[in-house]
C-alpha cells in the first residue's frame, strides 16, 4: 500500500510577522538579505542529517513558516560551529538565528518530550543558576535520566573509564557568590513571553523524536 501525503502550503500555514520578529533579535537583522545561495548548507558539518537545510530554514523563517521551522530537527542539530556564519556572502549570522529559533522553540514547547537537546539546555541553565558552575558528569547524568535512561546504561563503560582516569566529578562544583548570582538573575527575571503558535504543538510533534 502506498501512503500518500499531500503537501501544499496555504497562507494559513504561515504565522505572519514571525520572520520579522526573529529579524529583530540581536544578530539576526541581516536575515532579510539572504539570497538563498546555499553556502551555509554546503559548509555545515551536520546538514546531511537535517530535515531542512540551514538555507531552507532561512527561507522558511523569512517567509513566516513558524511551525515548520520550530518543529524542524535542524535547529537542534546545529552544533554552533559558526562555519555558516563565517562563510555567508551576505554576512548573515545564521548560527545566531538558529539560537534565536531554539530559544523560541524552547519557550513555546515546540519539541518532542524527552528530547535531549532542549532538556540538556534546561538542565544546564538550572545548574548554572543554582550552583554558578557546571559539573559535566552530573549534568549528563541528569540529562540521561530525563530523556532516555536506557541510553545512559549504554554509556556505563565510558562512565567507568572517566571515573578511573579521575575525570568524573561526584560532587557539584559551587561558587561562593551563589546568592549574588541569584540576585542578578532576579533583577532581570521576566515572565516568559507566550509564543504559542496558532495551532499549539499537537500529538504529531510528540511522536517525531529525531
Amino acid at each position: 500500500m502506498i501512503e500518500y501525503t499531500r503537501v501544499i502550503k496555504h497562507e494559513t500555514d504561515r504565522v505572519p510577522g514571525f520572520g520579522a520578529e526573529v529579524m529583530r533579535a540581536p544578530g539576526c537583522e541581516k536575515l532579510a538579505s539572504c539570497i538563498q545561495c546555499g553556502t551555509c548548507s554546503g559548509v555545515c558539518p551536520v546538514s546531511i542529517y537535517m530535515d531542512f537545510t540551514p538555507r531552507q530554514i532561512m527561507a522558511l523563517t523569512r517567509a513566516d513558516f513558524k511551525d515548520d521551522v520550530l518543529r524542524s530537527r535542524t535547529i537542534w542539530l546545529c552544533v554552533s560551529c559558526y562555519a555558516c556564519t563565517t562563510e555567508c556572502p551576505r554576512k548573515i549570522r545564521i548560527t545566531d538565528i538558529i539560537y534565536e529559533l531554539k530559544q523560541r522553540a524552547i519557550q513555546s514547547g515546540y519539541y518532542p518530550e524527552h528530547f535531549a537537546v532542549p532538556v540538556l539546555a534546561r538542565e544546564f541553565t538550572d545548574m548554572a543558576r543554582a550552583n554558578g558552575r557546571i559539573t559535566e558528569s552530573l549534568l549528563v547524568m541528569r540529562m540521561y535520566l530525563k530523556t532516555n535512561w536506557l541510553a545512559a546504561l549504554g554509556m556505563w563503560r565510558l562512565g567507568l573509564k572517566l571515573m578511573s582516569t579521575g575525570r568524573f566529578s561526584y560532587t557539584p562544583e559551587k561558587i561562593e557568590g551563589r546568592a549574588e548570582l541569584e540576585k542578578m538573575f532576579a533583577a532581570i527575571d521576566t515572565p516568559i513571553p507566550d509564543y504559542s503558535p496558532s495551532g499549539a504543538p499537537g500529538e504529531e510533534t510528540k511522536g517525531t523524536q529525531p
Binding site: P45, T86, R167, I175
Partner: protein
C-alpha cells in the same frame, strides 16, 4: 607577565589535564595565570539557546571580576568560554537590549563591566606575546619524528577570528613545528568535532568526530593536537561507539599544552596524560 585566568567548568572536570599541563608550561615561560576569584560558568552555548541575555549576564559577571583585577587581559583556554566571553563583549557594545539587561543585573550586586578587557586564548598569548623563539629555547626534548594533525576546532577561529585566519589558521601548526614535530597536512583543521551533539544526538555528533579521526589516520598522523576540552573529549572518549558504528580509528588526542610540556621535559603524569582514554603510543621518545 601576569594575566587574569578563567579556567571554565570543563578544566575542573573532564578537561582536568588541560589545566594540569597549561599552568606548568606557562610558568616555565614566565607567565603567571591568576585564577579569577569565585568565577562562574561562562554561559556556554547551552545557555545561549535558552536565554541570550541571561547567558550574557553569566559571562559578564566574570568579565566584571576580571576588570577589577587590573590585569592586561583575561586568558581562557576553553574554546566555548573564549567564544562566549568574546561574544558577550560584542553584544555589550552592539546590542542595547542586552547591555541594558546586563547593566541592570550587575548593578543589583554592585558590579559593573565596561567591556574593555581583552579576552585571549593561550595560543594567542604564546604566539604573539611569548614568541616562538622563546618557546624554542625551552625545548629540551624535541618531538622529532612525531607527526601531528593540528586541530583548531571551531570556536577559537569562528566567528571572531582575532589572532588567526578563520579559514587557514596556522598558529598551532607553527607551535608544533617549534616543538620539533612534523605537521601533517590536515584539511579538517577547523571542522566541527560534534560539539555537545555527541551526548544529545549521538549519531550525527559522533559522525563528526569519526570523520576527523579518520582523516588524521589517513594523513599518517601519530596524534591530534587540540586546543579545546570538548574537542579533546569527543575525539578521545567515543572510540568504542565509533568503532561499533563505523570502523576503529584509534588515535590519541593531546592538548597542545601537553605537547609543549613533553618537549620541555616534563613527565607525562605531570601533564595529566594518564587521564586520556586513548593512551599515547610509546613511540614518543619522551614518553617512553
Amino acid at each position: 607577565m601576569k594575566y587574569a585566568y578563567f579556567p571554565g567548568c570543563s578544566l575542573k572536570g573532564t578537561g582536568r589535564s588541560y589545566e594540569e599541563s597549561l599552568l606548568p608550561v606557562m610558568r616555565i615561560l614566565g607567565i603567571e595565570l591568576e585564577e579569577l576569584r569565585d568565577w562562574n560558568c561562562c554561559g556556554a552555548t547551552a545557555y545561549m539557546s535558552v536565554d541570550e541575555t541571561k547567558a550574557c549576564v553569566l559571562a559578564s559577571r566574570n568579565l566584571a571580576i576580571a576588570e577589577k583585577t587590573g590585569h592586561r587581559a583575561l586568558v581562557t583556554p576553553c574554546s566555548a568560554c573564549y567564544l562566549v566571553l568574546n561574544k558577550t563583549q560584542h553584544y555589550l557594545k552592539e546590542v542595547p537590549a542586552i547591555s541594558n539587561g546586563v547593566g541592570k543585573a550587575l548593578g543589583a550586586v554592585g558590579l559593573s563591566c565596561h567591556g574593555a578587557m581583552p579576552v585571549r586564548h593561550p595560543l594567542d598569548i604564546l604566539l604573539n606575546e611569548v614568541g616562538l623563539d622563546a618557546i624554542k629555547q625551552k625545548v629540551t626534548h624535541p618531538l622529532t619524528g612525531v607527526k601531528i594533525a593540528p586541530y583548531y576546532g571551531c570556536q577559537i577561529v569562528r566567528p571572531y577570528a582575532t589572532f588567526d585566519n578563520a579559514y587557514q589558521p596556522t598558529t598551532l601548526d607553527r607551535l608544533c613545528e617549534a616543538l620539533g614535530a612534523t605537521v601533517a597536512h590536515y584539511p579538517l583543521k577547523t571542522r566541527c568535532c560534534g560539539g555537545s551533539l555527541t551526548g544529545t544526538m549521538p549519531e550525527p555528533g559522533l559522525h563528526c568526530a569519526y570523520q576527523l579521526l579518520k582523516e588524521a589516520v589517513k594523513r599518517g598522523a601519530d596524534l591530534l593536537a587540540t586546543v579545546c576540552p570538548l574537542c579533546q573529549f569527543n575525539l578521545d572518549g567515543y572510540h568504542d561507539q565509533i568503532a561499533a558504528k563505523w570502523e576503529p580509528v584509534r588515535l590519541p588526542t593531546l592538548y597542545f599544552t601537553q605537547l609543549m610540556g613533553l618537549a620541555f621535559g616534563l613527565a607525562p603524569t605531570q601533564l595529566g596524560l594518564q587521564r586520556h582514554l586513548v593512551p599515547m603510543k610509546p613511540l614518543l621518545p619522551v614518553t617512553a
